[in-house]
């Protein structure tokens, strides 16, 4: 009995901590693994939808990782993609119904992008790469870590776009409180438009890679 306890890992062993913290920086799903960009950019014109989207992805990713990890030994490998899609799609339907019930305005703003969590490559990518070969608890942590990595990029992009584009943060008119409009400051309407999301992410990648030289690509 004592032996069994010894061989058992503590819940937050160094290895498990890595699962949570690596995706935040040097293994970030968006800027390094290039996954899940589709939905990441479209919802970042304002902070509120970005936060709701992050929470939805967090819920779907963590739960899907756990479910697939529990089923990993029973799924025949030939049909695993379909099984994964069914699990993800059912979770996304749940999230969509919850959003429609409790946050109807935001769910209207997110429009098709809640549904597009199904084809969000982060989720498929993590299921394939991690949950199919690991126990439920590490898979759960991996899901959380990657969702947080996704979330912080979303929130940073949305923060800057909303601040410079509409002069507010989470709907609060911060720029007006500071009083910069009196000295001739104007909101930059460009930041609200889709192309600026891409350029903002480009700049985040630039900053991240100039701080962490390992990530620089050859070409």
């Amino acid at each position: 009995m004592a032996e069994e306890v010894k061989t058992k890992e503590p819940l937050f062993s160094p290895k498990n901590k890595k699962l949570i913290f690596n995706p935040l920086s040097k293994d970030n799903p968006i800027t390094v693994q290039v996954l899940g960009i589709c939905s990441a950019l479209a919802v970042t014109a304002k902070l509120e939808p970005a936060v709701v989207m992050s929470i939805s992805v967090l819920a779907v990713l963590a739960l899907a990782n756990v479910v697939i990890s529990l089923l990993r030994n029973t799924i025949p490998s030939r049909i695993r993609i379909i099984v994964q899609l069914v699990v993800i799609a059912s979770l996304v339907i749940l999230v969509d119904q919850v959003l429609k019930a409790f946050a109807y305005e935001v769910s209207k703003q997110l429009s098709v992008f809640v549904g597009l969590i199904i084809t969000n490559c982060i989720i498929m990518g993590r299921l394939e790469a991690f949950a199919m070969g690991n126990k439920p608890w590490p898979s759960f942590l991996d899901g959380l870590g990657n969702a947080f990595g996704y979330a912080w990029i979303l929130i940073v992009v949305a923060f800057f776009r909303e601040l410079f584009g509409s002069g507010s943060v989470y709907g609060y008119p911060v720029m007006e409180w500071i009083g910069v409009y009196n000295i001739g400051y104007k909101n930059n309407g460009m930041m609200i438009l889709p192309p600026m999301a891409l350029i903002t992410v480009g700049i985040i990648i630039w900053v991240q890679r100039s701080r962490n030289k390992e990530l620089i690509e050859e070409n």
Partner: protein, 205 residues
């Protein structure tokens, strides 16, 4: 007829899948290293969007949306199955991709060898599911409109990926700052292309 052309042109230039909605970005970034492969993937996307959007339109109209089941009898008039649409659409897409792959393999081995590797990738491309979801949200009136929307979105995606691939082939000869190389500069170029495409806004035939 004019309405169809209008939807087609609008979905290519104004509501471009990549530049206006960022759909299909994952494969857009991963496969756009050379023009040749990106042409292959682009054609496959046009093909699959042109098939799945009308099929999903029929499913939405006759099975899922509110009151769609009235053809079964008056008792079904109040049934609303639209919460099932995600799972139905993704199932249709996955099986249509499989079917298209098998048909192409049988009838045109040459096309299969050039498209073959891209078809499975497409099942999880957000542009395909996005096409069906936008079709549902915008409530196109007839199957012809839905088809023209599907084909137009495909052509728009094709233009975007071939354009970025051509630029990336050339940019290899330029001296990009090291931290921006690869992914960073691709994002910024896509942003600039998006700004260029925004000049089409407001076009109406």
């Amino acid at each position: 007829m004019q309405e169809l052309v209008n939807i087609f042109v609008k979905s290519i230039f104004i509501d471009n899948m990549v530049f206006a909605y960022f759909l299909g970005m994952c494969s857009y970034l991963a496969v756009s290293k050379t023009v040749k492969t990106s042409v292959g993937l682009g054609i496959a996307v046009i093909f699959v969007l042109g098939i799945t959007v009308p099929v999903d339109f029929l499913i939405n109209k006759y099975l899922l949306s509110e009151g769609a089941l009235t053809w079964l009898g008056p008792d079904f008039a109040s049934v609303d199955l639209s919460f099932l649409s995600f799972i139905m659409f993704i199932a249709v897409i996955a099986s249509m991709v499989q079917l298209v792959e098998m048909i192409i393999e049988k009838f045109s081995p040459a096309l299969y060898t050039s498209l073959g590797i891209f078809l499975p990738l497409i099942a999880v491309n957000c542009a395909i599911l996005g096409g069906s979801l936008f079709m549902q949200e915008r409530e196109y009136a007839s199957i012809a409109e839905a088809t023209s929307f599907g084909l137009g979105s495909g052509v728009g995606w094709f233009l975007a990926i071939v354009g970025i691939a051509a630029i990336r082939e050339k940019i290899r000869y330029s001296n990009v700052p090291a931290p921006l190389r690869g992914l960073g500069i691709t994002f910024i170029i896509t942003g600039l292309m998006g700004i260029a495409f925004m000049s089409f806004m407001g076009i109406k035939l």
